[in-house]
Symmetry: D2
Subunit: 339 residues, 4 copies
Amino acid sequence: MIIVMEPGANEDQIQKVAKKLESLDFKIVFNRGEIMTVLAAIGDKRLIDPASLASMDGVREVKLIQEPFKLSGRESKSEDTVIDLGNGVKIGGKNSPVVMAGPCSVEKEIDGLLEVAYAAKDSGAQVLRGGAFKPRTSPYDFQGMEEIGLKYLAEAREKTGLLIATEVMDTPDIDLISEYADILQVGTRNMHNYKLLKALGKTNKPVILKRGLASSIREFLLAAEYIMYGGNPNVILCERGVKGLDSHYTRNILDLAAIPVIKKYSHLPVIVDPSHATGRRYLIEPMSKAALASGAHGLMIEVHHDPDNAYSDGAQSLNPAQFKSLMKQIKALEGILTN
Amino acid sequence: MIIVMEPGANEDQIQKVAKKLESLDFKIVFNRGEIMTVLAAIGDKRLIDPASLASMDGVREVKLIQEPFKLSGRESKSEDTVIDLGNGVKIGGKNSPVVMAGPCSVEKEIDGLLEVAYAAKDSGAQVLRGGAFKPRTSPYDFQGMEEIGLKYLAEAREKTGLLIATEVMDTPDIDLISEYADILQVGTRNMHNYKLLKALGKTNKPVILKRGLASSIREFLLAAEYIMYGGNPNVILCERGVKGLDSHYTRNILDLAAIPVIKKYSHLPVIVDPSHATGRRYLIEPMSKAALASGAHGLMIEVHHDPDNAYSDGAQSLNPAQFKSLMKQIKALEGILTN
Amino acid sequence: MIIVMEPGANEDQIQKVAKKLESLDFKIVFNRGEIMTVLAAIGDKRLIDPASLASMDGVREVKLIQEPFKLSGRESKSEDTVIDLGNGVKIGGKNSPVVMAGPCSVEKEIDGLLEVAYAAKDSGAQVLRGGAFKPRTSPYDFQGMEEIGLKYLAEAREKTGLLIATEVMDTPDIDLISEYADILQVGTRNMHNYKLLKALGKTNKPVILKRGLASSIREFLLAAEYIMYGGNPNVILCERGVKGLDSHYTRNILDLAAIPVIKKYSHLPVIVDPSHATGRRYLIEPMSKAALASGAHGLMIEVHHDPDNAYSDGAQSLNPAQFKSLMKQIKALEGILTN
Amino acid sequence: MIIVMEPGANEDQIQKVAKKLESLDFKIVFNRGEIMTVLAAIGDKRLIDPASLASMDGVREVKLIQEPFKLSGRESKSEDTVIDLGNGVKIGGKNSPVVMAGPCSVEKEIDGLLEVAYAAKDSGAQVLRGGAFKPRTSPYDFQGMEEIGLKYLAEAREKTGLLIATEVMDTPDIDLISEYADILQVGTRNMHNYKLLKALGKTNKPVILKRGLASSIREFLLAAEYIMYGGNPNVILCERGVKGLDSHYTRNILDLAAIPVIKKYSHLPVIVDPSHATGRRYLIEPMSKAALASGAHGLMIEVHHDPDNAYSDGAQSLNPAQFKSLMKQIKALEGILTN
């Protein structure tokens, strides 16, 4: 940690900061410049909130040097994490990209879901995704089929052999959802729901953690850290676009550079959801290809049997035929990228 | 609702959209321009997700015309909502600004909290704020004193007569916290935690709803809508800064124009938290004054008995003497603004 | 254009708006809903600033329906624009991606530039890019070699047969730079420099227009419109990242979805500059591949003979060997993408 | 400057960085931690581009410690700069706020301008602002009256005694505009137009420098630095809102915390333009008051004699009566704030 003192800081203020750090078992090196003094605090025997130093008199700025994520960071584990999702499907490392497809929401009739599930399976997807508990911006929007939706997903799994991924929104729902799902998902709006993250740390299910609506990569990895710190190492990160300055032509701004950045700083698998990131059907194909080209370990794609009549997110859903065509292109690209 | 068709949309596509809208009890007016056709759908007998229209073939864009918030909007209730917080303290409308002060976190020893509470009371604050359950970006940061913290707050209330406001992070905690607190708070990281918002709609406590880290004003009012839709009309909105492009000199960007915007579109009281918005002690005073000048119904300010040794957010906390001095200036300004 | 009146707007206000629009040769269709009236103004005989309507009493909002770009938009020209850059190099449409490589700045000694130019040529690049006039955030940073730099570039062209692209910052410099360069470039900081854009509309050189630091896609296409409106149809758009909420791990956020969006709305060629977008060398390769996968017509990549000692942007420059390796991967990818 | 080495950096890489810094006359202090080494480079005999260090092998990050602005920063001049605008009007320091009012654009007929000028004078404004050269996002929007507009402004000055402020967009126009104007203005779209900033450094007119559309405070002060470095110390900074995540209810997000931040780091006067920041007439009054409460040295407000028919920015312009009413409130507030 680097503590930059104000140009006018006096010796008393400098010593007070140094003493506080020494009391926390840091070793202090003084860099006394002509204009200002900089203290380097070495060692992290104890974690300290930088803001508590920043508030001291005479301190201009406190700069962290080590990344604050321990378990999710490469520094603690250099080899890639590979997660066994079940059915022999593995994600991470050098494994082929895993494709998760399905409707935004599970709807009233199971037939549509089954149609999508069969199509997903036939086209080569490994996981069926679908929301039974839905976080919606407005209370007047469809809120999900809840347990009935979970039962439908389970039935689709039985019929197709696909794995099932679905979202958890609240700690009391974890047990119920875990009975049905193979993979739990934390939505973008709950990335900062730390109670939920902690509780998921106590389960043994793989967790797809979606990047927060406007979260930095550091906050994203710290959210993963919450789950891992709780005891569950099986976290799959999912880039799904962040809020940007221009939402006229795309819903969010898909941050594909985050893929190689995350792969540098973390050992966890990272996938991309081009559907929520862009919100436009015609962008799914180019952004899926770009996601793989940037190194993603998988894709999560919205597919609906009848997008025009979807309960939610129809505008960004592919129909089964479009998904099939996309999968062909993905397969072609995959061959090149892994060679 | 306005549905803009693509320049190349054919008659069949246009009619399909029109029929879908008519089936939902909308009346359709066709505007056929030389370049494109625009449909105006009048009436909102049923709410419809604009995205489900946007996904239909030939549709370029769907534009909402009415604001989507019903209960929190001015259109449903033109007079200002005034909330009785207890002890005769009223917030909203033409009432004097309510000041809520206290430490970011309730800490191990009660003495500091009591010191702040007495100072807050003496300086004219009406509410003591303090976190017992803490949402922290890192799992390694202090997570709060939980029930002990609530007991301390209750003791401070008994000794000073201040009202107590504290944060709820998870649905299972609502009952416990409600036993102690006069006002419940939803933190910025949980503004999109819809399960929590719904559950708070079932309580009868006033709720301070903090604006999400990067939420639009519309999303903010829709989050309030969730609480109101559940049956609890006592929502206090709190502007606390949003993420911006530059976090070098301030933690967030305080959006003070949101105050008059919210007062135009909503009848709910709206307060400002300059401490979290700026993250810098020297900015609390000017931003508190600016908040009142922009029309805020109240302020929430972090005060700590010993900011240098605060468990969290010391850098942005005032000490009791600084708070007293701020309150003097606020009082002077108030006289002018209410005349 | 759609004019949404306030719920409380009276008939007089509605008629005043209608009259103003009729006086501008718009045809008006009234949509009178239960809550508010919406006017659709059809025809664009004359362009009108929506803000002048928005200011009228009783108007809630004015929504544009047609995109405001005429010359750069697909609506005016459906086939892709292909620009002949010289030497038989064509950019846009189905042509192979054009690669532009070279140092951020032309430096004091010509040798380094020549080394890069030969390496670029050998690896298959078609254009040598290099700044002679440099826009730098600080006046204390290196400001460019100016005319000497242009002479160096011309010499490199003569020796390698590469085309030359370089930046113009100010209208009085256009003539001088045009004497040397094959392609003129407008930097991100000048995307809104309308006098410069207009003046470039009077030249007959191809212009690379970089997206503004935080510009929307609409503003970007309107900047192209300025050049085209002046008489120069040869505009190459360049996505180079926009400011985002997180600049910790990348300099900007590379908006690759902008590529297919621009290709949908405009017929102009669009390229990607991963060097400035990310600011990190290790991100150039994955982002170059992702750019091509998303459909870019070309790439602009910083290559320096000795990045550690570059006058500017060394951190994001490849050395010649790294560039050669990148080009191999690009070629492999290209084969798949064009099939 | 702090250079953080990668955890895996070897001694050779560390020494190479140290040698490069020593060759630039920096003194090096080594902080060798258990995980990584950090070098502190003391002294700034020469300025160095941090990016050139960041590109060296083994370097993780380079952190600047001193602010990069020399002339505009408080460190070089602790007392507030007060600029004499002419006619005895002084801006900065403890002087009363200066109010600049007038239409966005000077229009075809001079009568409207004169009406506004007389009203501005009567209400207590000191400066008439009006654009003769207009930077517009679209080439189809009104581009300004150019020299005729300047003549009109000069006539309004003669008739009212107000000072004249108007925008310069291009270096070749500076001489012409300087003949007429008392104060030159750099618009938000040209804040990064360094050639223009440099050229303004050679004039002796006060310059209002508007903050860039999305510029950080640091970039803003560095733009001021360009003008000052050229020899002109009379720079007035103008906060006018920056791009934010939500432009639904306001055009930009007004960053009022920037006022006390700038006053801490710079000695230059700083004013606020609530008209462009918000783009909505009803927000001008609360934001003007909030701007003064946050410590602004002045205000720039759009006033038009007939906003409904303004050539530009009517939606955010006050009419003369509204401006008069605003000025009364400003005067009342001023009394409190300066006491």
